[in-house]
Symmetry: C2
Subunit: 401 residues, 2 copies
């Protein structure tokens, strides 16, 4: 019997009616001869609501307790789904991360799955049961409840599929991976397939359908992942290893990220030690900086621009203030009104000039670009948010997205 | 250091504000040199809400899963309280029934505490921590999550106090045990003390402040229990062993139960085997019948009246219908419009004539009584609900309640 791991997100489980519908779909798939393992998120906005309660008590709630709190969300949805499955005549059993032995390491609220004891799941499957597992949670080596951070349920599903050598199906409120987020560009095409590498670059560039960590894991264990609408009646997108059935297009997709800000450092001495010290101070606060560009030195001084999450702008500014005293030429500017536009495609590996082509396209359309960075299969451009729509349309038209 | 076990009910924890207030009170008690163990119920109406969701899916939800579902309620309140305590500078840690090793036996949704592994609690207390324990829940010998039924958090608190040889304080939305429920008789007196036996009779007669099981446990392990208002600024009532500091009054309290119904069987052959068969059929369905009275036989036929929970009336009726075919003289009547009035007092042991005195009092006030039963320290009367107020006032006045 094939084992299928399905994951249902919060929007798929937000009402009793939706839970019942999903139960019926699961029973149908089981009746077709499959062993079913179901990973669930918390219902609807439950996790946000729990976090809000904690923050209403304390601006910096104890993280061990926050994990205890958040983990109840999946426990509610898993038991309700199990009640629905049993009600419809199936034999189902639900398990928390603790009960099923999802071992994690790392710190509270952002743990990583270290191992899964899949024996218990196999045992229950052998008895003919549908096994429901709480996503997003596990226990660490102190037996404390831990959570995996945003998108953690996807990671649970992929990790289970890897362990059980199963198919992995992620059901969500979008019907697949698009060349461009359809909310930004309604004429975007849905992709039948996308490679792990492209999906990773798309996810890290702002495409929010799946979290990067779950895709990394899928790539590592070569688990093909279907992303599809939770009603199950529309074909979705399969994320898998690159093979020659895939189009080798220059650009597979375009991602927009409006959650970044830009900082420009002026009057920085052209001295690698000083520059390294500045970046190290920022890194020490767990702030991820992303695109970096540096000007040619003038009078042994350079300007450096880089991007970072908007949420970290305030903290980064306080760090930079401390350098004003040390370096008398130094000043900085911040801007949180920027758009990062990234184009992703395996074809960039083999087709030269994609960056230049996009650059020309932007120039032709009078769209100024402040920073550009390139990787093997991705090029990112910082533009003004006002130009976002125009840029998407020009690129989508040129590359048939 | 004295160990204090405090239990906070749902109404004490229903808002973030209330949780913060309780946290401050707990810290104050700890600062006075006490080791604090806190048992929490689910916030406000959470448990009812969870049960409603389960019943919206299935009229008879799988009981294992129902326990998984319900146990999240206390997990939320315990982590929020711990976040509040940590926020205010205390060192607190919360545990589910599973994490702290509250072992249960019996069936899902109505398990009983078999044992508590108090070592972990003592360890944490030694580290100077405030320990928060989820009430109402445990795990059985299959490591399944179980719950203890209504009032289960009180039982958790008493069991912990027994194990830890601690004081037990139950904080709730009433400020103690009254001679009569103040909602029924506003002039009722609050008792400073009440004996375990009297409290048990009060609880089983309809006084809803504490559940009988927790009082039985407190009596068994001789754990004095303070019942007080959750603001903590009014002295409550202490439930403890009878001693000579207690008044040996004829009647300590009066309890009203409006959740019972009465069934009268007519034309029953005066044959103990037949009567036993009828009662056995009812007992087989787990229906608890309470007060029984039987008439003198006339033509070898008797009438028998008994009371039972209103909720079981329908099921009991179907059982009795089956006897109509077997016994051609047999018929029955039901009435769910009755009030059970019980008076409780240790003094009944030594003072004779209390039953007669109350009976006369009811007669003088034109209150007909349909059944009377007596135990060593309790007398119960079935009266009409319309007479309830009049009866309470007459008895309260006569016995100074």
């Amino acid at each position: 019997m094939a084992v299928i791991v399905q994951k249902y997100g919060g929007s798929s489980l937000e009402t009793i009616e939706k839970i019942k519908n999903i139960a019926e779909r699961i029973i149908k798939r089981k009746s077709e001869g499959n062993d079913m393992v179901i990973v669930v998120s918390a219902m609807g906005q439950t996790t946000d609501h729990l976090i809000k309660m904690a923050h209403d008590i304390s601006p910096d709630p104890d993280k061990r307790e926050l994990d205890v709190l958040m983990s109840t969300g999946e426990q509610v949805s898993m038991s309700l789904l199990s009640i629905a499955l049993n009600h419809f005549g199936a034999d189902a059993v639900s398990f928390t991360g603790q009960q099923i032995g999802i071992k994690t390491n790392g710190s509270h609220t952002k743990s990583k799955i270290a191992d899964i004891n899949e024996e218990k799941i196999r045992e229950e499957l052998k008895k003919g049961k549908i096994v429901i597992v709480a996503g997003f949670q596990g226990i660490n080596n102190l037996n404390e409840i831990t959570t995996l951070g945003r998108g953690g349920s996807d990671t649970t599903a992929v990790a289970l599929a890897a362990k059980l050598r199963a198919q992995c199906e992620i059901y969500t409120d979008v019907d697949g991976i698009y060349t461009i987020d359809p909310r930004l560009y309604p004429r975007a095409r849905k992709l039948d397939f996308i490679s792990f590498d492209e999906m990773l670059e798309m996810a890290s560039s702002g495409a929010s359908v799946m979290h990067s960590r779950s895709i990394e894991l899928a790539e590592k264990y070569k688990v093909p992942v279907l992303v599809a609408l939770n009603t199950g009646d529309i074909p979705g997108t399969i994320i898998k290893e690159m093979d020659n059935t895939m189009e080798n297009t220059a650009i597979t997709g375009l991602a927009i990220n409006n959650d970044e800000a830009i900082i420009t450092l002026n009057g920085v001495p052209h001295d690698i030690k000083i520059i390294a010290e500045i970046f190290q101070s920022i890194a020490n606060k767990d702030i991820n900086i992303d695109m970096i560009s540096q000007t040619f030195p003038v009078n042994k001084l350079v300007s450096i621009s880089f991007t970072l999450p908007k949420a970290d702008l305030h903290q980064a500014s306080s760090i930079l203030d401390s350098f004003k005293e040390k370096i008398f030429t130094f000043s900085y500017e911040t801007c949180d009104n920027i758009t990062k536009l990234s184009v992703v495609g395996l074809g960039m590996n083999t087709q030269s000039g994609v960056a230049a082509k996009v650059f020309n396209l932007l120039a032709e359309n009078d769209i100024p670009v402040s920073i550009v960075t390139t990787s093997e299969i991705k090029i990112s451009y910082i533009i003004s948010p006002e130009d976002q729509k125009k840029a998407i349309e020009a690129i989508a038209k040129e590359f048939d997205l």
